[in-house]
């Protein structure tokens, strides 16, 4: 979505419903309420938790990549990175 959005009129209720549905579909299975109605506050709270867990994953993967790269000698690390680029 372009930044032109912020200059436009407010989102309609339908727009918001659509966005909320999209958000709900992104949340992990375990967090979705099967009983249908989720309050906005709950949805936002779960969204916050989900984002936090994703950010934690990025941190963990960063540490893992750091270990992996330092464990390899210079040439093979560069080679692997380039190989990832090409695949």
């Amino acid at each position: 979505m372009s930044s032109a959005w912020t200059g436009r009129a407010r989102a309609t209720d339908d727009d918001i419903k659509e966005l909320v549905a999209k958000l709900q579909s992104l949340l992990p299975e375990a967090r979705r309420r099967s009983s249908g109605r989720t309050s906005a506050a709950k949805l936002l709270k779960e969204t916050c938790s989900y984002i936090k867990s994703l950010q934690r994953e990025v941190d963990d993967l960063s540490d893992r990549l750091s270990d992996l790269i330092s464990a390899m000698d210079d040439n093979s690390a560069q080679a692997e990175i380039i190989r990832s680029l090409l695949s």
Binding site: A11, I16, L19, T47, L54, L65, S66, L68, Q78, L85
Partner: protein, 140 residues
């Protein structure tokens, strides 16, 4: 209100994100090679450098049109790891927290906030996927 604008923007810039991140990784690796042998502290710092590279890649891929990517790009210039969303641990008011942190001082309308959040999640999950693939290929 354009219908296509509500798509939540399924990350067509994934390639750019991956390329940017790989480039940063190669640079980090070069720096590390110069300072061998690596100390334990160096490895810990390396992790943080990679985290910064991850968020930079996300922000570049998303472009300057997003409040969250702007926040990252500005934060990186100040040489800190910027996590525009969810810096506070306690969620007293999720709506306000997302709004305040995601939009900085700007007033953000709820629809925009949701859309920004969706876009941020898309790029975050893309980044996790990219890093996972690289880690797997480095393991082989």
């Amino acid at each position: 209100m354009h219908r296509e604008a509500l798509a939540g923007n399924p990350n067509p810039s994934r390639h750019l994100q991956a390329l940017h991140f790989l480039g940063a990784l190669a640079r980090i690796n070069k720096l590390r090679a110069r300072k061998s042998p690596p100390s334990r502290r160096a490895t810990a710092l390396g992790g943080r450098r990679i985290t910064r590279a991850a968020y930079a890649a996300m922000a570049v891929a998303a472009g300057p049109r997003r409040a969250w990517s702007r926040a990252i790009l500005l934060g990186l210039r100040r040489n800190s790891i910027a996590k525009p969303f969810l810096i506070k641990k306690r969620i007293l008011k999720p709506h306000r927290e997302l709004r305040d942190v995601g939009s900085r001082a700007e007033e953000m309308e709820f629809g925009s906030l949701l859309d920004e959040t969706l876009n941020y999640i898309h790029h975050l999950t893309a980044q996790v996927g990219i890093m996972q693939k690289i880690a797997d290929s480095l393991c082989k």
